[in-house]
């Protein structure tokens, strides 16, 4: 009798011990991160920052996504993660409405959901890590243009299209900043390039011959920047007419190195991944609650929250000095 009681105690102790180790293993948070497409260099660079944050926080990072930008495949992956019972799901939504049903389901199962890069519907996630506000982009573009030209002279603008909502918004904020801060600068021409690099090259060629006093061309759609750079280079005006705009480092690297393009503006994708993991982990730990005004993200410091948007802050400027640190 005594013997069996002892055995029972021993068995209980073993059970307890194994339970404790299981809990210890479980206490490592699992953050699952879903890019729009996992082979895309842009998201791979996001992952680099996310990996760093996961290491610092001691959380496990799952990074999976469709091989192409496929909204249905994104849903499938989220469903798998719900079954797996991860702690945090961070999503860059390919289709706003499409993904939201699956995300709501995840929330019902007690999984913390945030979005980054491209938002889902607001009720399907707790926070959106917003990489750049239109105002922030517009101001950075105009400030950089003013810095490059010494704050005076004529400049031109190439936009993706005259009607696309984001382009209109950015252009509006560039013009507002121009009016407010740089009275000696003048926007003399705005041309659309239909998001085509070739058309941007033709448009910039015509701009250069029509406006001999041009000091800078700003392209606010990504194919526009290399297209403009090639036109300026062919016109023999590299350095005399500055080129800058919104774009990706890889598409502009050769022109930045040749000294044709001065600045390429975007956000730091590594920081975006880093902040997303920190915010997700804080949410899971209960440190980040609805209505919070700020969130801390390791070595990057504190970030502002506007409503349910965690703001990555000022856009990042790629130039000759730093462009080789980025590959996307």
């Amino acid at each position: 009798m005594k013997n069996s009681l002892l055995r029972l105690c021993a068995a209980g102790a073993v059970l307890l011990a194994s339970l404790a180790t299981a809990v210890a293993a479980d206490s490592k948070l699992v953050v699952a991160m879903l890019p729009k497409s996992k082979g895309n260099a842009y998201f791979i660079s996001c992952k680099a920052g996310a990996d760093k944050a996961a290491k610092e926080l001691g959380v496990q990072l799952l990074f999976d996504g469709p091989t192409d930008s496929n909204a249905a495949k994104q849903n499938e992956i989220v469903e798998n993660w719900i079954t797996l019972g991860v702690d945090v799901i961070a999503v860059a939504a390919e289709n706003k409405e499409g993904i939201s049903t699956a995300l709501r389901k995840a929330q019902k199962q007690g999984i913390n959901v945030i979005t980054y890069d491209a938002d889902a519907l607001p009720d399907a996630r707790a926070f959106f890590v917003n990489q750049a506000t239109p105002e922030g982009i517009g101001q950075s573009l105009m400030d950089e243009a003013a810095r490059l030209t010494g704050g005076e002279g004529e400049f031109a603008m190439i936009v993706g299209s005259l009607t696309a909502a984001n382009q209109r918004e950015w252009q509006k904020h560039v013009e507002a900043r121009l009016k407010e801060k740089y009275p000696k600068m003048k926007l003399v021409v705005v041309r659309p390039c239909d998001d085509l690099k070739d058309k941007a090259q033709s448009e910039a060629t015509a701009m250069l011959s029509a406006n001999s006093n041009l000091k800078l061309i700003m392209a606010i759609c990504s194919p526009g920047v290399p297209g403009t750079a090639e036109a300026v280079k062919q016109a023999g005006k590299a350095g005399k007419v500055k080129v800058m705009g919104l774009g990706l480092p890889n598409e502009n690297r050769r022109y930045v190195k040749e000294g044709v393009t001065d600045s390429v503006i975007l956000w730091n994708t590594g920081d975006l991944g880093y902040l997303t993991v920190y915010a997700g982990a804080a949410l899971a730990k209960g440190e980040l609650k609805k209505g919070a005004k700020t969130v801390k993200a390791g070595s990057l410091g504190t970030f502002q929250i506007a409503g349910d948007n965690i703001l990555l802050g000022k856009p990042f400027i790629f130039n000759k000095g730093n462009i080789d640190q980025f590959d996307f």
Binding site: S37, L208, A210, P223
Partner: protein, 309 residues
Amino acid sequence: MSRYFRELSVVGALAALLLGLAIFAPAFFSPQPLLSLVTREAPTLVVACGMALVIISRQIDISVGSQFSVCSVCAGLLAARGWPLALVLPASITMGALLGAINGALVAGLRLPSIVVTLATMVTLRQGLNLVRQGEFVNMPDAIQWFGLPQATGQLVLVALSVALLIALALAMRHLAAGRFVYAVGTDAEASRLAGIRPQLVTFLVFVFIGALTGLAAMMNIVQSPQVQPLSGAGLELKVIAAVVVGGVAISGGRGNLWGAFAGLLLLACVSPALTHLHIEAYWEKAIQGAIILLAVVADGLRSRKAGN
């Protein structure tokens, strides 16, 4: 005179536009920028020549923009792998001809309507390319630019090549039997068959030909910049069809010539730089181009009504 009224009226409109530019924006004619602008349109002219043939034969090919993209990306990838230009150029033309052969086989072989066939290939090729490249640029070695020639020489070569092709084709269409076959098939396929022409073969070859020209044009475009954007060529089909129609080639087939298509292309291509030079808002560009096309179509409609009466 009246026979070429359509072509001459386009030339007249073009002359008026150029005269206006000479008075209000003489900077338009500074040689170096003008050469650059003309060079930018050289590939479009090559595709427009092909489109004129397709439309004269009473077909249409709206997949040229997608063909152009596929050829550009393939040629760019080969160049990036270090293939010499002497191989990349024929590869691009062959690629275009193959894509054209697919269209041709479906249209001529299965007697399917060309608008549906080329709509299908347009979408398929475009989406396939998106899937493979995901918008990523192809970076090519510098040596490919301007065929390895100095910039100004390279530009002159491209312009000369496109104009030489135009002249050769225009003469061939007028004086060679093969050219007359295209008109015959476009006017009345059944009658041409009775006359001993094989209309299906002519149709097939016309599609192969525009494919090959598109492959050449893609090459003429990628030598103008060291990077290929996979979206390159999007909307090209509308540009060339508009040029051909404005130039007086009847969409119902059998009528029109390449000189008209050339004038139509120049007129439409001038609109955008002209607005930039005249400091007119970019919003007008598409509206003016649309109005030109409308005017051309209305002129055609009135003339055929008169002829009918």
